[in-house]
């Protein structure tokens, strides 16, 4: 096991006057009890771009991602700032339920509700106050199209979501999140449970979505990161060692650990 310096890092900084930032963190620290899981995470996520987060398993990617919409509130102590629209959303005053409608999340394992396909999307919409039936139907259709699922399920919207294949379920979960009209989309290894064909469809959908959203995605597949992401962050033992444009990370990494990781000589 090689040891790498945890203080040498290269984190690209955007100039906020020139580049639109969808979400950013400043000095994020996460503790699971005594276990310090994230150190000084400072990162900017560009709007209308896909940022991939890579790194060995246990390096803190999921932990970091889950902080971004406060899903770690109950299980960890999270310090530092998370800036969204010039508001620090990591403070007690924030209404997390409203915030999560702006910063949506899709999980590693598909988790549709035990309801029909239609209700999986319409139920959260109605809960968030949209009552008009036509509105709801429209948004269901639109989000299913955005998630590239519409053609496969349009004749059968009353089927149980649990009867769908894993890939379809995952796209349904994306559609469900999109229907809430978020700004930022967080995805934690969304393709890890899917077959190659479903993965392809999912990636296509994400690239389409990139035009309108800030997308932040954890992935364990370097091919996937290089295929679809614009920016890549490399995590190692709770530290962000490198962040840059994806093609730079994959062609001319600045940090030894990154280079070893992407070339498969890691650890």
């Amino acid at each position: 096991m090689k040891t790498y310096s945890l203080t040498d890092n290269y984190v690209h900084k955007f100039d906020p006057t020139k580049t639109e930032i969808g979400l950013s963190t400043e000095n994020l620290q996460v503790f699971y009890g005594d276990n310090h899981a994230i150190f000084d995470g400072t990162l900017q996520f560009r709007k209308n771009a896909i940022t991939a987060m890579i790194g060995a398993s246990g390096s803190g990617k999921s932990t970091f991602l889950r902080c971004l919409n406060r899903m770690n509130d109950d299980i960890a102590t999270v310090q530092g700032k998370i800036m969204y629209q010039d508001i620090d959303i990591n403070t007690p005053e924030i209404n997390v339920y409203e915030m999560r409608k702006h910063v949506g999340m899709v999980f590693q394992r598909p988790n549709p509700f035990a309801k029909s396909i239609f209700k999986n999307i319409s139920y959260p919409l109605r809960k968030s106050g949209i009552k008009n039936k036509q509105d709801i139907a429209q948004r269901v259709e639109k989000s299913l199209r955005q998630a590239a699922l519409w053609d496969e399920v349009k004749d059968d919207l009353n089927r149980s979501a649990l009867d769908l294949s894993g890939g379809q379920q995952q796209r349904l979960c994306i559609a469900r999140t999109l229907a809430m009209n978020p700004d930022v989309l967080l995805l934690d290894e969304p393709a890890s449970a899917l077959d190659p064909i479903s993965t392809g469809k999912l990636e296509q959908a994400l690239q389409e979505l990139q035009k309108n959203y800030t997308i932040i995605m954890v992935t364990h597949s370097m091919q996937q990161a290089s295929r679809i992401s614009d920016y890549t962050a490399f995590f190692h033992m709770g530290h962000i060692l490198e962040f840059d444009r994806t093609e730079r990370i994959f062609t001319r990494p600045q940090i030894q650990a990154t280079e070893d990781y992407i070339s498969g000589n890691f650890g």
Partner: protein
């Protein structure tokens, strides 16, 4: 922009609902806590009145054999010796647990080690039915079958500790079995595989590995069974004979704490000594139930530490 800021920093319908929901849910939980506290308080305050208000000595209460609360002895102190009931309760409890344990072990082993799939499918409903049969039905069957059989075989009236034990045996059997099944299932698979791989027979594996590893679980199961037996009222009351005399053998009419409580409470007047003395019996029941609880906790803690 300002819009979003407002939205993100102000409470919404969801936050309010959540607050009310949490308050209601907490209230329900609090009610249960309050209930337990009031039970402990009320039973204790009534039960202690015998000793503090009527000045009966605790020692006399626990060790004297003469139970006749409405009368006094020649020194003028009331006849409230609860020993016969205490002995009765402990006898039926211990005897029925001792009798039930081998059967429960056999049932549990059959369901987990010998025929895990078919055994469970067949015996699980057996256990559930045995649990489900109401205690008055056990009492009725005890009265019409067990008591006459005991009478013909052993003589006497048929009422007594033996009949009580036989009825309770069937009642605690499913409790001990199902709890012991759970702890057998918690014994890691690889213990058995390792032992079988070393060439041990199934019985050697069960005896040397599985049973040993599950001893704390078995003890817990037996204690739970005993708690059920100790607290059972009607089934026992129907077959024990209800004579508040110290039992000198297993087939003479006797009584338990619960049987005296169920038959006596309606015939006494609140606040009088005979009534208070009954509440003292209830207090003993309650304290024993707490005791069983503590023992289970203690075994659980020790079991966890050993791991």
């Amino acid at each position: 922009m300002e819009d979003i800021k407002r939205q993100l920093t102000h409470s919404s319908k969801a936050t309010k609902q959540d607050r009310y929901g949490k308050a209601i849910a907490f209230f329900c939980t609090f009610l249960i806590g309050l209930l337990v506290v009031s039970i402990l308080y009320l039973v204790a305050s009534r039960g202690l009145a015998t000793f503090f208000k009527d000045h009966v000595s605790v020692w006399d209460f626990l060790t004297k054999q003469n139970w006749n609360p409405s009368q006094v002895d020649k020194n003028g102190s009331p006849l409230v010796g609860a020993l016969p009931m205490i002995v009765g309760s402990f006898s039926v409890t211990i005897f029925s647990a001792v009798l039930a344990t081998p059967f429960a072990i056999a049932m549990a082993l059959f369901m987990t080690e010998i025929e895990p799939r078919r055994g469970t499918k067949f015996l699980q409903p057996v256990i559930e039915l045995l649990v489900g049969i109401p205690s008055v039905v056990y009492g009725f069957v005890g009265l019409t079958i067990v008591v006459p059989v005991v009478r013909t075989v052993f003589g006497g009236t048929g009422f007594g500790i033996l009949s009580g034990t036989l009825v309770l045996f069937v009642m605690v059997l499913p409790t001990i079995t199902s709890m012991y099944v759970d702890s057998l299932r918690a014994v890691p698979r690889f213990y058995r595989e390792a032992s079988l791989a070393l060439g041990a027979t199934r019985w050697q594996t069960i005896y040397k590995v599985v049973l040993r590893a599950s001893i704390p679980g078995l003890l817990t199961a037996i204690i739970f069974g005993m708690a059920r037996a100790f607290g059972e009222a009607l089934a026992v009351q129907m077959v024990i004979g209800n004579a508040s005399l110290l039992p000198h053998n297993l087939i003479s009419p006797a009584s338990t704490l619960t049987s005296v409580l169920t038959t006596g409470m309606g015939n006494t007047v609140m606040g009088t000594l005979p009534n208070n003395a009954l509440w003292s019996l209830a207090l003993i029941l309650l304290l024993m139930s707490l005791c069983f609880n503590l023992i289970v906790r203690y075994i659980g803690k020790k079991g966890r530490m050993a791991k």
